[in-house]
């Protein structure tokens, strides 16, 4: 909170010299994915000094990149079989965008531009020619499935603006999220979508505890992990045998 107060003082002290500016802070810069992690939220807050009433604030949250395949079930001999139909290389695992003014004239255009530059441009299709309709369908499916998983949201969340100067915003992260850096970008735009001022924050999401130990070693030290798993199992088997022998003596 102290940071916010300083920020506001700073903003008001400098406002006569800059036309539009945005400053921001977040309530946490680290999120630990423990075994009990059940989703969390990040509070983003700050101050804006809009040039005029037509200035809007955009907030975007961009999660770490992953590769994603879309699979479609097709029926073969009466059973449903998964078939990979499209692949997106290195796209954000989580993306959310919101605007302070939901009546902004070019909202749809902004959404399409953002989704194109972050997601759609990374489509890789296997052998089939890039037929316009097919490609559109892949885009739609990607967006629909990501929205269903709570990993994509475009202009659905509200930004709270107080007295045209202060803002607060809550990002809700689902329980299944990818570890990595989550960037939070705040941008002031005018009616034409021209960027006036920017501010950026980041949150580090990492696995912790058993979660970290097991997934790290499974990936990076598979021989150790394999032996460890076997030894733990044998030890528990042995302990169980001893325990019950003692109990039913």
């Amino acid at each position: 909170m102290r940071a916010l107060i300083f920020a506001i003082i700073f903003l008001f002290s400098t406002s006569p010299f800059s036309l539009s500016s945005v400053i921001s802070n977040i309530d946490k810069s680290n999120i630990g994915l423990s075994t009990r992690f059940d989703g969390t939220s990040i509070l983003v807050f700050g101050a804006i000094s809009p040039e005029n009433d037509s200035t809007s604030l955009l907030i975007e949250i961009i999660g770490p990149s992953t590769s994603v395949s879309i699979r479609k079930k097709v029926q073969i001999w009466g059973i449903w079989v998964n078939k990979k139909i499209a692949h997106f290389q290195d796209i954000p695992s989580f993306y959310q965008i919101s605007i302070s003014n939901p009546e902004h004239p070019i909202l749809k255009k902004i959404e399409n531009k953002k989704l194109k530059s972050l997601f759609y441009d990374f489509l890789e299709i296997n052998s089939t020619p890039k037929d316009g309709n097919v490609v559109e369908q892949y885009y739609d499916e990607l967006a629909r499935l990501k929205k269903k998983l709570g990993k994509l949201s475009a202009f659905e969340e509200q930004i709270n603006i107080i007295d045209k100067k202060l803002f607060s915003y809550t990002v809700n992260l689902p329980k299944k999220i990818h570890p990595g850096i989550y960037k939070i970008k705040m941008t002031l735009i005018d009616q034409q979508g021209v960027e006036l001022s920017k501010s950026e924050q980041s949150v580090k999401v990492s696995k912790v505890g058993i979660q970290d130990f097991l997934s790290y070693n499974s990936k990076n030290n598979p021989v150790f992990y394999g032996l460890f798993s076997v030894i733990i199992a044998l030890f528990l088997g042995f302990s169980a045998a001893q325990l019950f022998r003692w109990l039913y003596r």
Partner: protein, 306 residues
């Protein structure tokens, strides 16, 4: 209480897993079975990826069979020589199985493959068990005693590499045990089962081993094979979820102890019919999941390229 499994990468309810582990453990205590062939499909039905369910279940069976083998060692009911020959075949089978698994997984079809294997196995074993128990019940109603133990002199005795198995009081070729072990190794690695339901009848009817060493020796082999399979899956496929395994081991141990001490007021045939029905129900559910039109034809998967 919801927990997040690190390798399976799915959130699950801890108590559901513990109860599932205990329930399957209980059944294995009552029926004297390993339970892997029930646990793996149930984990898949719970939403755990098939590849993780198979590898993790192998890890659980390593624990439960070790615990079992210790009890049989005390009673000197393990034929080590036979066990070791079975292990040799089993290690080969497991290595082959894990490699096949890896290849199918790289094509993204492991879920389908494991489901089909299970439908085939559960379907045939459930049906056989059901029919056999039915006919036994009918025969016992007519009060005919049909149990005759015959010492057969079959084709097994014509094979080379004959060797003496002292504890089993046998002089047979080493080839059949290696082949049987190999098949068990394949089953363990692609289905996450101990394979006792095949190994035990094979030891009795094909190898002609005496009943008193059969269970101890089968557990001895299963322990080595599942431990090795766990290791192979961990290094080749990276699909062993140790947290999931720990929960299942704890649940399974408690359930099995309860099951072994419950006095079931049912006849052996009736117990087997009950087990056959459970097996067939799980099989049916897996089959329906493959055949019913899915709610959503499309799905997302994370990971590397085309």
């Amino acid at each position: 209480m919801q927990i997040f499994l690190p390798i399976a990468d799915v959130p699950v309810d801890l108590f559901v897993l513990l109860i599932l582990g205990a329930a399957v453990g209980f059944l294995s205590g009552v029926f004297g079975i390993g339970g892997g062939f029930l646990m793996t499909p149930l984990l898949i039905l719970l939403g755990i990826p098939a590849a993780v369910a198979v590898a993790t279940e192998a890890n659980q069976i390593a624990a439960s069979s070790f615990s079992g083998v210790l009890a049989h060692l005390k009673r000197r009911a393990v034929d080590f020589k036979m066990g070791n020959i079975l292990v040799v075949g089993g290690l080969l089978g497991s290595a082959v199985g894990v490699e096949v698994f890896r290849i199918i997984k790289s094509y993204g079809q492991i879920e389908l493959f494991v489901s089909l294997c299970y439908i085939l196995f559960l379907g045939s074993i459930g049906t056989l068990m059901f029919l056999e128990s039915l006919s036994t019940i009918q025969k016992s109603r007519k009060s005919e005693n049909t149990f005759k133990q015959k010492k057969k002199h079959n084709w097994i005795h014509g094979l080379p590499f004959k060797t003496k198995f002292k504890s089993s009081n046998l002089y047979i070729s080493a080839i059949p045990p290696v082949i049987i072990g190999f098949i068990i190794g394949i089953l363990a690695s692609i289905m996450g089962v101990g394979g006792g339901f095949i190994l035990i009848p094979a030891m009795i009817y094909i190898l002609g081993m005496p009943t008193k060493v059969v269970i101890g020796t089968s557990l001895y082999q299963i322990m080595f094979i599942t431990a090795f399979t766990t290791f192979m899956h961990a290094t080749q496929n990276k699909t062993v979820d140790l947290l999931l395994a720990l929960i299942l081991i704890v649940g399974g141990v408690l359930g099995a102890q309860l099951g072994a001490r419950v006095t079931v007021k049912l006849k052996a045939e009736e117990i087997r019919i009950l087990l056959a029905i459970i097996v067939l129900l799980v099989c049916l559910k897996l089959a329906l999941d493959l055949m019913m039109t899915p709610n959503d034809l499309f799905s997302l998967t994370y990971g590397s390229g085309l």
